[in-house]
């Protein structure tokens, strides 16, 4: 059977057609989810009223809910989905580990530590100063540094320990260690700062100020740009570092670009929305299986679209449409992501291949 399969003359063309089709469907889905996310919420507003609110033709309360809350939240959801999924894709390729992702490897925790050091660390000196007065950029940059430090550490461990599961366990240990450090910081910080920090850890998509959303937009756009720049490097990393070098890849430069990119993406999201799990692992796998390719020229845009759509869907579900309760979005992403992760582990055991 091995040699029996014949392909059409130029199969690239049919692939391309199929891929365009998948992108169209995903794009449509994304638009639908975005609209649904705006139309649905804990306060039920008729679609017609939502439409009018969009064009500034509704009463001020509804107007307020739509433009100051729901639209920014939907945009945040998209940015978060894009950022986490892209950083997951890059980490999986760079570490050649299908289980890699910002959450499980402790990169989000590292970002959290960065935030904690700023919020709690400065508290002793600055007294009851307001959290927001630190400035969103200081917050987000400290998250980048924290995320970057953990990424470099994981890279170092990955280069010594080849076993995928061992690296994963070490990542979980790192995350636990970091949360222990944060607990100690909390112990020494004053009440006001502690409260600000605890509120932050609960994280959500809807708590961003306009200023924070701007910082997040700029950061994620930078991350997307760096991801596009790193497409060729990621394709080379697929076949392993030695081969990548042998075809002329500058390993140090590429690593620096990709590390900065994942740190910016995972760090910014964690800084403003708190830790959100499993999207980073799951979405790249969905993209690979949907497009049946390992080529990052397709996976990067694919991950962007799927990541945004999945996060919007998670947000819609977390609002429990029709009820006034809102679930933490983190629990929804876990419920979506964990089955994918288990499936990948089982498949990995079976055919011993990476991804």
């Amino acid at each position: 059977m091995r040699h029996g399969i014949q392909f059409p003359y130029d199969p690239e063309i049919s692939h391309e057609k199929m891929r365009i089709g998948i992108f169209l469907v995903l794009g449509l889905l994304l638009v639908c989810f975005f609209c649904l996310d705006i139309f649905l919420g804990s306060v039920s507003i008729k679609p017609s009223v939502v439409f009018r609110a969009l064009f500034g033709d509704a009463d001020s309360n509804v107007q307020m809910i739509i433009t100051k809350f729901r639209i920014p939240k939907a945009i945040t959801a998209m940015l978060v989905g894009i950022a986490l999924s892209l950083s997951g894709l890059q980490m999986q390729t760079l570490f050649r580990n299908p289980m890699a992702g910002p959450y499980v490897l402790g990169v989000s925790s590292g970002a959290g530590l960065g935030v904690a050091l700023v919020v709690l660390g400065f508290s002793t000196g600055l007294g009851a100063d307001n959290f927001r007065s630190f400035g969103n950029w200081i917050l987000v940059i400290s998250a980048w540094i924290g995320a970057g430090a953990v990424t470099v550490l994981i890279m170092f461990i990955s280069s010594r320990v080849r076993d995928i599961m061992t690296v994963l366990i070490i990542g979980i240990m790192l995350a636990s260690g970091i949360s222990a450090i944060i607990s100690i910081l909390q112990y020494f910080s004053n009440e006001t700062m502690l409260k600000t920090y605890v509120l932050w850890t609960m994280g959500s998509l809807g708590n961003l100020s306009a200023g924070q959303l701007n910082v997040l937009i700029i950061s994620v756009l930078t991350g997307i740009l760096l991801s596009i720049i790193s497409i060729k490097m990621l394709n080379a990393f697929l076949i392993g570092e030695s081969y990548a070098r042998s075809i002329g890849l500058n390993i140090k430069l590429s690593r620096a670009v990709i590390f900065s990119c994942t740190s910016i993406l995972a760090g910014s999201v964690t800084a403003f929305c708190g830790p959100i799990g499993f999207i980073g692992i799951a979405v790249p796998h969905i993209a690979r299986n949907l497009f049946k390719t390992s080529d990052h020229r397709i996976l990067v845009p694919g991950t962007v679209v799927i990541g945004a759509a999945v996060m919007l869907a998670s947000d819609i579900v977390s609002q429990l449409p029709g009820s006034e309760t809102i679930l933490p979005v983190n629990s929804i992403t876990s419920l979506i992501g964990i089955p994918v992760v288990i499936w990948v582990i089982l498949r990995n055991k079976k055919d011993q291949s990476i991804f």
Partner: protein, 333 residues
């Protein structure tokens, strides 16, 4: 093909691992050369540093002294990209990534030539498809690499290096994971590639392949590198140090191994037929050497009756197979 000079040359190259306070070279400085279009086998016992040598030539690990000259230029001065346009490399590392198609893997060979995003234009597409066909994988371009057999995957790796369009290919144990037909398939392919002007340097633990197929051998031993045609090395008995002489010997006739067995006795074989060769072999394995003086017992090769006859004193016994004959001989001698 434009010049036939040394395409690859080691000048007092020192290889090994330098880490922390320990910096040790495994071997004395190595000097050797390869000419364009040659198939050169690097052999030596396990752990002598064959892979280390190949990795050092590839600049994947730093040399501890000396130079690697490529077409007369010091490769230490090359950028990674320039080196990638001169030498292609296949290690023992298995690339097993699901969702990666043969085409995508081979396309990575174009890495040193494509633009910032790795766009495959028409020209590159033609080179990739030609490489796939040359490597014997026609119609395989859309197969997933993870679903290939070991031999097919090795061909895909070779296709990738072909697409890289380098003069020199370096392969670390290219036949290590392959079954017999896979081994010979890959060796034949390597031979074809050198015939079309490429130069291949490969390491192997398979002496039979190295001695029969290579134009030149680089023999790595504790006291340094010896290079030459397989026959040159055979004549100076260069391989004799490689083996435990008591257990295994070397048949200079065809470059195969002989396992030495304890000698049980000598025996005479009567008759001349093409079965003599196999009979001698089977007897040798059981520990009997063949003599020209008539012995008791002695063996008569099958003629019309297709049976071996064993004459012992006045009696004779017939055997339908060599196996039966040798079993009987073991009992009586």
């Amino acid at each position: 093909m434009e010049n036939s000079g040394e395409i690859l040359q080691l000048e007092s190259l020192k290889i090994g691992y330098a880490s922390g306070n320990y910096s040790g070279t495994i071997l004395p400085a190595l000097s050797a050369s390869v000419y364009r279009g040659e198939l050169v086998a690097v052999i030596g016992r396990n752990g002598i540093g064959k892979s280390t040598l190949l990795r050092t030539i590839m600049n994947l690990q730093p040399s501890l002294g000396g130079k690697v000259m490529i077409s007369g230029e010091n490769s230490a001065e090359f950028t990674g990209l320039k080196l990638a346009q001169k030498i292609g490399y296949i290690s023992t590392e298995i690339v097993k990534i699901s969702h990666m198609r043969v085409y995508d893997l081979v396309a990575l060979g174009r890495f040193p030539y494509t633009n910032w995003i790795g766009r495959i234009d028409h020209n590159a597409h033609v080179i990739i498809m030609e490489a796939i066909i040359k490597a014997g994988l026609a119609h395989f371009e859309n197969r997933f690499v993870s679903e290939l057999s070991d031999g097919e995957r090795q061909r895909a790796m070779i296709a990738r290096v072909l697409a890289q369009d380098t003069d020199i290919m370096i392969m670390d144990e290219p036949t290590a994971f392959l079954d017999i037909s896979g081994k010979f398939g890959i060796m034949n392919l390597m031979r074809q590639l050198t015939a079309s002007g490429r130069t291949i340097l490969f390491s192997t633990n398979d002496f039979t392949i190295a001695l029969n197929r290579a134009d030149k051998i680089w023999l790595m031993q504790e006291d340094g590198m010896t290079e030459g045609a397989p026959e040159d090395l055979l004549m100076v008995k260069a391989f004799d140090h490689l083996f435990d002489q008591a257990v295994v010997g070397f048949d200079p006739e065809d470059g195969s191994f002989i396992f030495r067995t304890e000698l049980r006795g000598e025996i005479f074989i009567e008759g001349e037929s093409d079965l003599r060769h196999w009979t001698v072999k089977a007897l040798a394995r059981a520990g009997f050497s063949v003599t020209n003086v008539k012995t008791i017992p002695y063996i008569q090769l099958p003629s019309g009756n297709k049976e071996w006859v064993l004459f012992a004193g006045g009696t004779s016994q017939s055997f339908r197979s060599l196996y039966d004959l040798v079993s009987r001989l073991k009992k009586i001698i």
